[in-house]
Symmetry: C2
Subunit: 123 residues, 2 copies
Amino acid sequence: MDPDAVARAFVEHYYCTFDTNRAALGGLYQDNSMLSFEGAKTQGTAAISEKLTGLPFQQCQHNISTIDCQPSGLAGGVLVFVSGSLQLSGEQHALKFSQMFHLIPTAQGSFYVLNDIFRLNYA
Amino acid sequence: MDPDAVARAFVEHYYCTFDTNRAALGGLYQDNSMLSFEGAKTQGTAAISEKLTGLPFQQCQHNISTIDCQPSGLAGGVLVFVSGSLQLSGEQHALKFSQMFHLIPTAQGSFYVLNDIFRLNYA
């Protein structure tokens, strides 16, 4: 497994899904998954899916600036660190953000998100 | 173990050491540790210590804005996600940064840094 290839493919899939079909993001998490979104923690597929679909904006577009990744030490696990900007529909300025994911291999040969931490970078 | 307490104590110790005695940071890493600094990867105590002490600035001051943490799934491991700003001596403007650490318990009851990813957030 090439962690860089896993990270790039995941990042493309995640933000494309976020921007076009946010309700489908729930499928990337499992019941032991945790999301920290701007300091608010939620755990488990249902709660995370509810948090993401309930965010107070509809149309958005993520633009990715950097992707870093490292093996996490957990068998086959990959840490992915992303920076980029988030353009909300109707807003003049894009918001800068940083986000990290801890990806864990599944029995089906794919990955799920065990850890997800998101922060806006206020200028 | 309270991951929030571990994260806060680590962050305070790490950036205080960085700002006052950078050469001592090497003691926080082990030979399987990885550092990605602005996209450049190094591995192992010696290489990471050399990278950090060789950064092209001397006096600096980190100011921390946010600390997020989650259990990493690796026995006792903690993921720490930090945002803040870095003031370099003689520079007018502070640089915004984001950084993540994966902390692993040691046999001595402390933690070492297995994963470290650092990025400046360009405005």
